[in-house]
Assembly symmetry: C2
Homo-oligomer: 349 residues x 2
């Protein structure tokens, strides 16, 4: 075991605070990573505060991890010391179920191991996340990161990037497709950038007129308010795909009406209560309401390579680790453009 510095929540109502964490010694297939940057995802807050239930304390959040390989196990072949690498939302899976064999580890039928607040595949060791100086991960779940882009801005690609890239690819967005993005936060701003890079005609749908300028700067071609009935009516039947990143209460039917025939609305957020759906909203126009969860390891590597090729990164605000509690509050208030990223040097020193 190696003891490393970390930040943890020890109880739901306690702030994040310094914590010493034991990391396993790298096994034969393991990669030890010195973490340089870790993004702050809203899931980190939900988990730290036990808002979804089931948090195992102490919890060390963080699943948007970028760093350098510091040690490798004897049989590791894909990574070597000094390589720039990343770790996303999960660190292992069973490897033998149908979904794992199809490179869909995020849907592992035997339960994948999430990067934190989750059991490793021995079903008893708890995983601790990226708010720490080092992490040890089995090599298959370590991604290669290009040095071409600023690493602090690459970190959020490991969750926000793949979560939006995967459905855009899976539902086959192509040049000229009309794509709407609902909600312009951590996920939404990545959806805009990636959809635009694929040649789609991108519209940001928002309740806040103040987001129009940002939407344009991020690469959206149009900005429309969702607050007026007339405006929503005007957009009826307009979009091939809607990426819905909103986890607050909202009426799915209003957005389904904006889809063209055969259009698809992808849910990425989970509202606090189930929403209602009229069967007629789907039947007239053969529309689809679907969900998508991050992406598999193969697809995450593909996304990282794609973003390096297309110069796509997240818009980030870099913080020191001792600003994390303030960053949580500002994230909850939507007061971030568009992702906080922790500079892990601030934890080491």
């Amino acid at each position: 075991m190696t003891t490393v510095k970390a930040y943890a929540a020890e109880q739901a109502d306690k702030p994040m605070a310094p914590f010493n964490l034991d990391r396993r010694e790298p096994g034969a297939s393991d990669v030890e990573i010195e973490i340089l940057y870790c993004g702050v995802c809203h899931s980190d807050i939900h988990t730290a505060r036990n808002e979804w239930g089931g948090t195992m304390y102490p919890v060390v959040p963080g699943h948007e991890i970028v760093g350098k390989v510091s040690r490798v196990g004897a049989s590791v072949t894909h990574h070597k010391v000094g390589d720039t690498v990343g770790v996303g939302c999960f660190v292992d899976s069973c490897g033998h179920c149908g979904n794992c064999k199809d490179d869909l580890e995020q849907y592992c039928e035997n339960g994948h191991s999430q990067t934190y607040n989750s059991f490793l595949q021995d079903k008893k060791t708890i995983a601790y996340g990226g708010y720490s100086t080092h992490i040890v991960v089995t090599e298959k779940f370590v991604l290669k990161i290009s040095d071409k882009l600023p690493l602090e801005a690459v970190a959020p690609l490991l969750c926000a990037g793949i979560t939006t890239y995967s459905p855009l690819k899976h539902w086959n967005v192509k040049k000229g497709d009309k794509v709407a993005v609902v909600g312009l936060g951590g996920l939404g701003h990545m959806a805009v950038k990636i959809a635009a890079s694929m040649g789609a005609d991108v519209t940001v749908l928002s309740r806040s007129p103040g987001k129009a300028k940002d939407a344009s700067e991020l690469g959206a071609h149009h900005f429309e308010l969702t607050t007026g009935k007339e405006n929503m009516k005007k957009m009826a039947g307009s979009f091939n795909l809607i990426i819905d990143t909103v986890s607050a209460k909202h009426d799915y039917n209003e957005y389904l009406a904006l889809l063209k025939t055969n259009g698809v609305m992808v849910l990425l957020g989970v509202p606090p209560e189930p929403e209602t759906v009229h069967a007629a909203s789907l039947i007239f126009g053969r529309r689809s309401l679907v969900g998508s969860l991050v992406g598999g390891i193969k697809e995450t590597q593909e996304m990282l390579d794609y973003c390096a090729e297309h110069n796509i990164v997240s818009d980030v605000e870099v913080i020191n680790i001792d600003q994390i509690n303030e960053a949580f509050e500002r994230t909850i208030q939507g007061d971030v453009h568009y992702r906080f990223v922790i500079d892990m040097a601030s934890l080491k020193n």
Copy 2:
């Protein structure tokens, strides 16, 4: 104009009764059909009783029509006098929108003309349906029917058949796929027959143990009760596709949980109130909740040819027109195996 015998509802609370109907003389592109059989769809009842609102009285229901061509207009090339033909849920569409050009007239962007209780494309003439001795329809919307199968049992293919065939084709059901059919009525029994003919492994999901024998006779490979929590749990993650024909209240989330990763649940029924959907029911497993509305003319012809080739017809109970009010009541009670079909000879004589 030609005056023909029909049965109509003159008010929401009046029984169906004899009615004289003026049919237009066949124009250059029109086909006049002597109706032999017309199926009784639950939509006929909803419309006759104004249960969906918007019924224009008097209404002559019926959109599962099979008959013989009795006259054709001067420019009709696809049909000739004496041909066996059919008419389904719609009789015209704009013909020039994107969906019409894509053979998806059911989603015509300018509004298709349904077979009854709908305006023709002049947007003022009301359409009257198949509970009558004759109907006049523009040739493109007249389907060719093989004489190989019993015509009374072919009639329901024009609505129940295409409504189930279309999603099974669109979502690409193939040999070995696990397909569940929820609800074993007019639609459900056709879904079982067609899915089984495509090589799928078919399970009927029902609340009624009494349907097990029928399910098996219709070609289902399995029958499962949806009433027990344990039984539902056992089936979690089992199906590639669920065809949900139920229009009564039911919990979509319970059925979504039965889908495999990438599974699709197709709604064909419209419950009286919108149902709730948990985003998580879709996100975990990248599942889809979709809707589908009948099928286009090209696909309806394909379905009729497919059914003729595979010896697929509806299970029907043939009635005389003067039994229609009793048939409505029995349909509401689910007391029909599985479709009433009116022998139109009973109206002529």
